[in-house]
Symmetry: C2
């Protein structure tokens, strides 16, 4: 993962400086609330994907042209985090209290809305740094389609919390909408910045979709067997909210009626840590974790094949994208 870390570190610094420079205004409280989660860090996976894709396909000039779009997707991602945290009533994110915990729900809604608008402002600035208007417009429109999908996916996710008859295919559709579509967008925007053909834009989009879905499956796995000290998220959060994660869906489908009702009784808002831990064990024993991991690995391998099939003009960026496809299924946080 050496190349990935090197690029990631470099890009993170660039993006963080860029966002602090660009996201400024009044009232101060609103801007503090908007920057709170951005400043708390994060993997900056999405801008990395935009920039590395642009560089792989179009070299340093394409990378420079892609910078506003990279900043835009990170801003967009942070908007969704702020609103998701309100909806999920989460209290901690990236090791700091969530925005609505510090400033209250009204200001947090507004902080998310402001970042939403800033994502468009930043993306629009691509037209000021050498991107032709038609491509910049296309980038904004593709970004829009991703946000529609993310909103739909989040609604499906919330609605599934209240249901138990969720199939693997319902799940895969939901996480594509909620998580995969944005990562797909990132890869497409990188390719667009490089002036790639529609075919290459589509292939990169497919790569993004695959690693995005694999990333989310790994997230689900870490929510059940991950170390909260490493992940930075409260233990068994997903089980407490009865989130229909892949390990849970798979395990539930393999259990008999009696075990199902036992599993249901161990999960939810009122469950103790001990009960949740028992539920996690049941899911693991029923093969939920290994099933999820093997599916994620399959996605990762398909993504890897796509990258290998493409012509790269920058080999460092290509290595980083290859490593990224592996990282998403091996990460511990």
């Amino acid at each position: 993962m050496e190349t990935l870390w090197r690029l990631s570190k470099r890009y993170s610094m660039v993006i963080e400086e860029y966002l602090r420079e660009k996201i400024r205004g009044e009232p101060e409280t609103l801007y503090e609330a908007s920057l709170h989660i951005i400043k708390a860090g994060g993997k900056r996976l999405r801008p990395l994907l935009v920039l590395a894709t642009a560089r792989m396909l179009g070299g340093v000039e394409a990378e420079a042209r892609a910078l506003p779009l990279a900043a835009a997707v990170e801003t967009l991602h942070n908007f969704t985090l702020i609103h998701d945290d309100i909806m999920d009533q989460d209290e901690v994110r990236r090791g700091v209290p969530t925005v609505h915990r510090v400033w209250g729900v009204p200001m947090a809604i507004l902080a998310g809305d402001l970042l939403f608008a800033y994502a468009y402002r930043l993306a629009g600035e691509a037209a000021d740094s050498g991107m032709d208007p038609a491509t910049a417009l296309r980038a904004l429109r593709e970004m829009t389609e991703a946000i529609v999908k993310i909103s739909e996916g989040q609604a499906f996710d919330m609605m599934m919390e209240k249901k138990w008859d969720v199939s693997v295919s319902d799940y895969l559709k939901m996480i594509y909408l909620k998580t995969g579509s944005l990562i797909e967008l990132c890869a497409r925007l990188g390719a667009l910045s490089a002036g790639a053909s529609n075919e290459v834009v589509s292939l990169m989009g497919e790569y993004g979709r695959l690693i995005g879905v694999a990333f989310q499956i790994r997230d689900d796995v870490l929510g059940i067997v991950g170390d909260p000290k490493v992940t930075g998220k409260p233990v068994y959060n997903d089980l407490r909210r009865a989130k229909k994660t892949l390990p849970l869906i798979y395990a539930y489908s393999k259990l008999g009626e009696e075990e199902r009702s036992r599993l249901r009784s161990l999960i939810g808002e009122k469950a103790s840590d001990e009960e949740l831990s028992k539920a996690a064990k049941m899911i693991e024993n029923a093969g939920g974790i290994s099933y999820a991991l093997s599916l994620a690995r399959e996605y990762s391998e398909r993504a890897l094949e796509i990258i290998k099939s493409l012509r790269a003009i920058d080999l460092e960026a290509r290595s980083a994208l290859e490593e990224l496809a592996v990282y998403v299924v091996e990460r511990e946080k």
Copy 2:
């Protein structure tokens, strides 16, 4: 107001059909929540302004080109209403329960986010119906700037609820950001659709800003002396939330220390209807209503002068915009 009503009726039908046709998807619950306030009606003032401006300056072809943008601004407006209602804890809007009252806060946040994204989707479609990419991109970027302003304005508005040292100039800045900027945008988008010069785009923007601010001042006045049966809004809502409306700010500035503290004690969440009614009387007696109305009329007259100064190729649309400038300060709901 005859011409205004005729155009308003025609445009409302077109816009409502357009939005119902375009805003569709899954999950059903999310889309129902998103369309709830749109379906409940509304003045459709913003799309009217886009369409009438396009028509006045560029005739029926410009009007047709502007339709996606007109639908976009109405969608945008409804997104802000859904989120504002959550922030302000309002229970009724356009005679129906607010979105968060029916579907809960999480789904209402999401419904607003979805409409936010749809506003961009619709505006982007202007490029599919004859608008060149550079102008379509400019329209999206101007829309973005308006949303940044609206978010900032809403934050200022919320923060002012907790303060008493609010000047008329603080107030005017806040309502320009919160309300005026979107109406300014509408007029600018109409002019852009007509291929107007930058000078005419700016003048139309100024017209929009003036009637937008006048519209909001009239809103403030109706919140104090309006008939809730006509306005459709709960009586004394603004006073209950200690909103710093222009009549209140002006009256407060004219009162002595003792009267000020009496006025403060009559306003707020805990005040009874009787106390709020006394506060309203105090504001009226201190000249708050007549001051606000005279300022709104001044804005309206300046807006009227701008329209009269412009060359129109459609006289019906010009008449409607002249009547609109008068309507915003004379309306009873």
